[in-house]
């Protein structure tokens, strides 16, 4: 594990740390010691302890915010902070009152060599207890003397193409100090620290909280590079409605959390969740951290902030891939071809010099962005990259500037304005002439026929979807289907982008009429997709499948299908998928397999969709036809 060299210093100008004076509290402490007798001092501190008890400060919600106290399952109080060095009392992690008494005795007696690691607590206690001035160390941290943010933003890099798993995404906070360029803001980031490179170990340990999570501070441009240039994720920046004294309070809490770890849990106590504490620390009385179920999806934290009225404005920062697509949409087919030829070395950059300036600039800027994109995607080695990029830039530098070189990139709908993350559906299904009710709960997130997303986002991410069939008469309630996880990522290919599409899933299913009971299904595969514009998105994939269950000969069946599909819109607020697949199972229970169908959703309102499905399926010598309709409610 790498020890994070966390340091708040970067927040300010490096110059600020020039003068390492004797810490003020120590200085005051010395005065205190020599100022009046130890016994008298102790009495005054004890008076404050009593006063705090009378005021019931240990029950104050802000005290609980500063310590990340919560009540797991409504039981006893406990802090989410796992680092023992954060607490002043040995029982402080579970006892806010003992911790407060210990904190008052320790901090007001001036025993702390440096007050900064306790500055948020001390500042608040001092404010609440309002002791006679001069008796106790002032609640001032010298390190923060010149760090006064003027604004704060929650930054949300959205999911990125070809990695639907990034729906869990990330959020971070940026603080603006005396700078004006967004790039120079400071990013405050909470993340797990590890050098683990084995994905399985990483996933396992991350889920069970084996990694320590730390806050750290770094220049925001590092994060722009990471998300915008390397991961190709569009970024949303939400400016928070916080005043300067509130931002100072946030900085004090950040300072307290310096080098302090909390066990990091991917699903709930994650980056987005923990960031809420910074906002709560900024403005007393907010209650943001109680608003979540068992998992915290970053976009939901944005919704919580919005609901609390904390978001002033949102700004959109398109990723490099988004910019390239936008540039391409402003090039004629002929110019696209020229750009591709220059990119792949069949033409020289100089070719554009004869053209009209705006046209030349638009072609060359596209080439330049594509070179950067291909390099971070490892389609080019570094020598080749340096040579190609520099050559294009040399020519570009002779073309001057043009007002409309890059027309404004249209903003997509803000992610928090789309439908809620989880979905409850009720409807009817007719299979082989028998009618049954269906009830489906899907904790997250979206599928291929979601009309809220553009066609170019061929993305299906289903987590924990449970589908119950009620009836037909006499059959009671049955588990129709359970998708622990089911992902399909369709990324359209064109001359400039050549991504793979892929799918993966694991779950249970029981097909009515088959009488095979519940089967475990593991599936995956890869293929290609094309289009994504007005004619819809089409794809072709090879999908291996494995089934297991007592209803099958030999208990399992292994095979696969090839599948072709087309995703399209009939009208604006609807999205449809037609598909056909065929193949067979060659191992275990052998048979051919085929299916075809049509499914779709119509948007009725922000959180209401109407879904349709009809499909025919044949396998293991049986066929099933079903058709259904359901009302979806997102929340």
């Amino acid at each position: 594990m790498r020890k994070p060299d966390f340091c708040i210093f970067i927040l300010g100008d490096p110059l600020l740390q020039n003068n390492k004076k004797m810490p003020l509290p120590l200085f005051l402490f010395l005065i205190l010691i020599f100022g009046f007798s130890g016994a008298a001092a102790e009495e005054k501190v004890e008076a404050l302890v009593l006063q705090a008890e009378e005021m019931k400060l240990a029950e104050h919600s802000y005290w609980h915010v500063l310590y990340h106290y919560h009540r797991p399952l409504g039981m006893g109080m406990k802090s989410r902070i796992d680092d023992p060095s954060f607490f002043i009392s040995p029982v402080g992690r579970k006892n806010p009152k003992e911790e407060m008494n210990a904190a008052i005795r320790f901090l007001f007696s001036g025993s702390a060599e440096n007050i900064c690691p306790y500055i948020a607590r001390y500042h608040w206690l001092y404010e609440q207890l309002q002791p006679e001035p001069g008796l106790f160390p002032e609640p001032v941290c010298e390190e923060l003397k010149d760090i006064h943010p003027t604004s704060a933003r929650v930054v949300f890099p959205t999911y990125f193409m070809n990695s639907p798993a990034s729906m869990f995404g990330h959020t971070l906070m940026t603080l603006r100090l005396d700078n004006t360029s967004r790039m120079l803001d400071k990013a405050v980031n909470y993340s797990a620290f590890t050098q683990e490179t084995n994905g399985f170990v990483f996933a396992f340990k991350g889920i069970f909280g084996f990694y320590p999570g730390y806050f750290n501070v770094l220049p925001y441009y590092k994060k722009i590079q990471e998300y915008g240039e390397i991961n190709q994720r569009d970024i949303w920046e939400y400016r928070l409605d916080l005043e300067s004294h509130e931002l100072d309070a946030m900085v004090r809490h950040i300072r307290e959390m310096e080098g302090i770890y909390s066990d990091y849990y991917f699903f709930d106590e994650n980056c987005s969740f923990t960031l809420m504490y910074l906002v709560e620390a900024a403005r007393p009385g907010l209650n943001l951290t109680d608003a979540f179920p068992l998992w915290v999806i970053p976009v939901d934290t944005i919704r919580v902030l919005e609901k609390a009225g904390l978001i002033v404005e949102a700004e959109y920062r398109p990723s490099r891939a988004t910019i390239i697509r936008h540039r391409l949409s402003h090039l004629s087919s002929e110019d696209q071809k020229l750009a591709l030829d220059i990119l792949e070395g069949r033409e020289q950059s100089e070719t554009v010099l004869d053209m009209e300036a705006l046209r030349a600039i638009r072609i060359l800027d596209t080439v330049i962005d594509c070179i950067r994109y291909r390099f971070v995607k490892r389609k080019m080695d570094q020598d080749d990259y340096q040579k190609t990029l520099l050559q294009a830039l040399r020519v570009r530098s002779r073309l001057g500037v043009a007002d409309d070189a890059l027309p404004p990139v249209p903003e997509p709908v803000r992610p928090e304005k789309l439908h809620g993350s989880s979905r409850l559906s009720a409807g009817v299904q007719v299979s082989d002439g028998k009618t049954a009710g269906i009830l489906i709960y899907r904790p997250a997130f979206t599928d291929l026929t979601d009309p809220d997303y553009p066609e170019s986002d061929g993305i299906r991410i289903v987590f924990g979807e449970t589908s119950l069939r009620i009836g037909p008469e006499g059959e009671g309630i049955q588990l129709d289907r359970f998708d622990a996880i089911d992902i399909m990522s369709l990324s359209p290919r064109d001359r400039f982008f050549t991504p793979l599409s892929w799918a993966a899933g694991i779950g249970l299913e029981g097909v009515p009429g088959e009488g095979r009971g519940r089967l475990l299904r593991i599936s995956g595969g890869a293929g290609f997709a094309w289009g994504g514009g007005q004619y819809g998105l089409s794809y072709f994939m090879a999908l291996p499948r494995f089934f297991a269950g007592s209803g099958l000969d030999d208990g399992y069946s292994l095979g696969g299908v090839v599948r072709a599909g087309w995703i399209f819109r009939l009208f604006e607020h609807s999205k449809w998928q037609a598909f056909a697949e065929g193949g067979g199972f060659g191992a275990g229970h052998q048979s051919y397999a085929a299916a075809a169908g049509l499914e779709g959703s119509v948007r009725l309102g922000r959180n209401w969709h109407l879904g349709f499905e009809t499909m025919h399926e044949e396998r293991w010598g049986q066929s099933a036809f079903r058709t259904g309709m359901a009302l979806h409610w997102f929340h």
Partner: protein
């Protein structure tokens, strides 16, 4: 609940195609910033799918204290050096294009008045070949050239 998710996630990665993890040796110059933090696709997907972040976070933290012992007039240079080294690629592109966010941030760090910025950007664009004689140019050389150009406008 967490166990459930564990099973889910492990299931996903059993079923998912295997991705190779590789680590390139990184030289210097253009491109090195963008390369050094990549550890292969599997890692990338893991890190992004789970809110986790690989141990690439320490940059800038310790270097934030650089310059502590130096006289004030070096501080600006120090900041510029760091910024240019960290943003080599996007700065080169912005200079060639004559505009851009990185160029704006550079002008702010170099304390160029708003009124002089257009001239500054034009001068940089015209001198692109001098600033970037080859792809291996170091950040400090770039800053030297930029400072010279700034002195002449």
């Amino acid at each position: 609940m967490k166990k459930f998710f564990a099973a889910v996630l492990i299931g996903l990665f059993v079923a998912a195609p295997a991705f190779a993890v590789n680590r390139d040796n990184v030289g210097c110059g253009l491109g090195s910033m963008l390369l050094e933090e990549k550890d292969g696709l599997l890692w990338e997907i893991m890190a992004t799918s789970t809110n986790g972040t690989s141990g690439n976070q320490t940059f800038g933290i310790t270097s934030g204290t650089l310059g502590c012992e130096k006289p004030a007039n070096f501080a600006k240079r120090e900041q510029l050096d760091r910024f240019v080294a960290d943003n080599m690629d996007s700065l080169a592109v912005d200079i060639a294009m004559g505009e851009g966010e990185t160029l704006g941030a550079l002008a702010e760090l170099a304390e160029v008045d708003e009124s002089r910025r257009v001239d500054f950007f034009v001068a940089l664009q015209m001198n692109f070949d001098t600033i970037y004689p080859n792809g291996k140019v170091a950040g400090t050389q770039v800053v030297d050239q930029i400072t010279d150009i700034l002195a002449q406008i």
